[in-house]
């Protein structure tokens, strides 16, 4: 008898696990149930489809359903929704157009993803009001913009989806208003990044409304305006990007434990409280590399990596899913902004650290070499131990330098360790002291 590995959800985590399990054990059965039609797509690419720099929505698909079925021999069933998990009997109940079926499993992966949060706004159902979390929504936004040629857009939420959509809609010739309830955009990136990004958004013509709560949308069938506390602002299209919430209903109903973050609790192998059931991707927690505590940071690499590791684990090669640092990067028009670890000092204190931080600006190339940019680098460390807790960077080039800081966190390095790292220098690529090293030098000086 062959083992049956059942996967619920056909995006990054699910398809990575399915592909890896089948490759490691071609004799095992691997069945993926996906309630929609799209699988293995790059949600992060959707703003660029709306912007018009990616021609076809299909371009965002990494591997097509046909390729999964034919080349990877994965039994992928789209339009098939798992509505129940029975941990006792080790079966899932699946609904399709054809009816309801039961499917037994030996190992199960819950990779149900996350859903865009819909705030309790009036007028969310108006035509022209969108969230953007799946391919159909991206398709609908693009079609709407093409068809209705909106003059003004309201973007609700200054997280990365909001900022990417501001860029996308500006590029389509639309006047963009961006509404953020908090004092700054990109909250997890910290103030140093936010201030640089906000200035740039304004330079790019985005009408930025900070500390501004949206209460709803008004219009007659189609959106006409966005309602604020004491003002109504014209808007021909609206995008609501205020975050995502993990899809845990199925798991929760089955008795799979959730963690404190509200996402599915997992161990270092991605295993839930049931030893044959795993969870990965946007619906699951992961362990934070700095705090060692569970965290919920729904990002693509985490999903892919955990899926792949679980595919190895269930085929007999126990493989940790890896810890996360919450590393993220976003393009904001001509800027790159990135963050990793714990940037917020308040959060650092809550995690038991005594944070100290510096922010410096330094050129990305030798001072005499043409076309460099200024990179603003923030580093946060624990005062007593000198251990690095997090950091951020923002600038017109060099934002991938966040990886240097992410590596330092992964390795548990101190500020002094980072300061002495032998990074690459040549005038077209860096000053002698890379901006990250300069930040470490300055922070090191304050720790003495």
């Amino acid at each position: 008898m062959t083992d049956t590995f059942v996967v619920v959800g056909g995006d990054a985590a699910g398809m990575s696990a399915a592909s890896k399990a089948k490759r490691e054990n071609p004799d095992g059965d691997v069945i993926v149930f996906e309630k929609g039609e799209w699988v293995s797509y790059a949600a992060c690419g959707m703003p660029y489809y709306v912007k018009g720099v990616v021609d076809e929505l299909d371009d965002l698909v990494a591997v097509t359903p046909e390729e999964f079925r034919e080349e990877r021999d994965v039994d992928l069933r789209t339009g098939a929704e798992v509505v129940d998990i029975d941990l006792e009997r080790e079966t899932v109940t699946v609904e399709t157009d054809g009816g309801t079926d039961e499917q037994p499993y030996d190992d199960l992966l819950v990779a149900t993803g996350a859903t865009a949060i819909e705030p309790p706004f009036e007028g969310l159902g108006l035509e022209g009001v969108f969230t953007i979390h799946d391919m159909d929504e991206a398709d609908a936004i693009e079609s709407y913009v093409t068809e209705h040629d909106p003059e003004t857009a309201a973007i609700v939420g200054g997280g990365y989806v909001g900022i990417e959509m501001a860029e996308a809609l500006s590029a389509r010739g639309i006047d963009v208003h961006l509404y953020e309830m908090l004092p700054h955009v990109l909250q997890p990136f910290g103030e140093a990044v936010a201030e640089v990004v906000e200035e740039h958004l304004r330079e790019q013509g985005v009408d930025l409304h900070l500390e501004t709560a949206v209460s709803g949308f008004v219009g007659d069938e189609r959106i006409d305006a966005v309602e604020l506390e004491d003002e109504t602002v014209s808007a021909d299209v609206a995008i609501v990007g205020v975050g995502v919430t993990p899809n845990v209903g199925l798991a929760d109903a089955a008795g799979i434990e959730l963690g404190q973050t509200g996402a599915i609790a997992t161990d270092e192998y991605g295993r839930t409280n049931d030893e044959n059931v795993y969870a990965a991707g946007d619906c699951a927690e992961a362990t934070h590399v700095v705090t060692g505590e569970p965290a919920h940071v729904p990002l693509a690499l985490t999903a892919n990596r955990a899926g792949r590791a679980i595919g190895q684990t269930i085929t007999g090669d126990p493989t940790p899913v890896g810890e996360i640092a919450g590393t993220a990067i976003v393009k904001a028009f001509d800027l790159g902004a990135a963050r990793t670890g714990i940037v917020d000092e308040q959060r650092a204190r809550e995690a038991g650290f005594d944070p100290v931080s510096v922010t410096i600006s330094a050129p990305t190339r030798a001072h005499y070499y043409p076309d460099g940019a200024e990179l603003t680098v923030t580093l946060v460390a624990d005062r007593e131990s000198g251990t690095l807790l997090g950091g951020s960077v923002v600038g017109r080039e060099g934002a991938k330098r966040i990886d240097t800081i992410a590596m330092a966190l992964t390795a548990g390095m101190t500020v002094m360790d980072l300061q002495n790292a032998d990074l690459a220098y040549a005038p077209p690529f860096s000053p002698v002291w890379d901006p990250v090293l300069t930040a470490a030098k300055v922070l090191g000086g304050t720790l003495k």
Copy 2:
């Protein structure tokens, strides 16, 4: 009585140490003897001055002699050559135009740098034949090119100086022939990088002569041609860039111990065998982060970092100079090429490892995002332990990703540790799996 810190040599290591020592202890005397007139200059920027993208040679000076003297209160004496060190009496003998003097020291830093190797070629003294290691040479080359408008150039040596000068002289409209004795250019970068760079050099019109020994230059006062074993090739200007040799004569004569590499042996604080004498920069050894053994890798960051640390140490705050990974990056026309750690498998075996390596090519951005480039990544690890030993990258963008690998070496990470690093992803900056992570995945697969 105040302490006197004497520094021999006024470039990166020497001036970093002097500045730091004075800042930490403003009451101490800091005297720098520099035999030339240039201090604290970016030798790495010289090719770009010749190329014409840096306007003035002075632009390459980070801090001027006046700034050192007036703003940093360093007693900088240019045109002052230290000709003898007396370890017993703790004095140095200094020659200037005005005569010979003795200067006592409490702490001494030998930062005498390195000199371009002059191979035993015929015709090295001909007009139009240059090495390029100091500012006067850069000035002379630029003037010669401007004045004589050469049609063809012979560059001897395919290291980074040779390649940067090939780019510089091509940009000046000169037909460049590049001669390399070995089978590949950029030997320390490994074959995977060399092959990509060589193809690109040829595309850019460089006439590449591999495994070709130059025996000398011929001409009547001024160079006319370069002589090979069985051929003479016309050349109106020649640059010899076959490496550097540490300037250790002064130290050696004084009884300061040299290491196996021929450079000055130092401990983790940059101290020589004499407890009050330090050495740093291109004349000194440093400890390799992978092997733990002394190495001589004369690069700018190493010099700056060691100088700064020694400035701290001698003012009462013992600070390790840091280990080196031999991280280096070079621009070759439109390519960036970089390396870190031990790339050469033969060298890895000599250091007691059982090396295994992979080379992969992956896009620098999401596959659907415009204007990405292909990055070729090589990783080398020890088969038994999985510990990373080194790596290289080459491509039209993203060469600074070498820093990710350098960080992994610094932290002593295994391939699996690197594979699970949480690096930054967004479509304009990276595929979901950064090319470095992809290389780690593939290498990890071969280790099982």
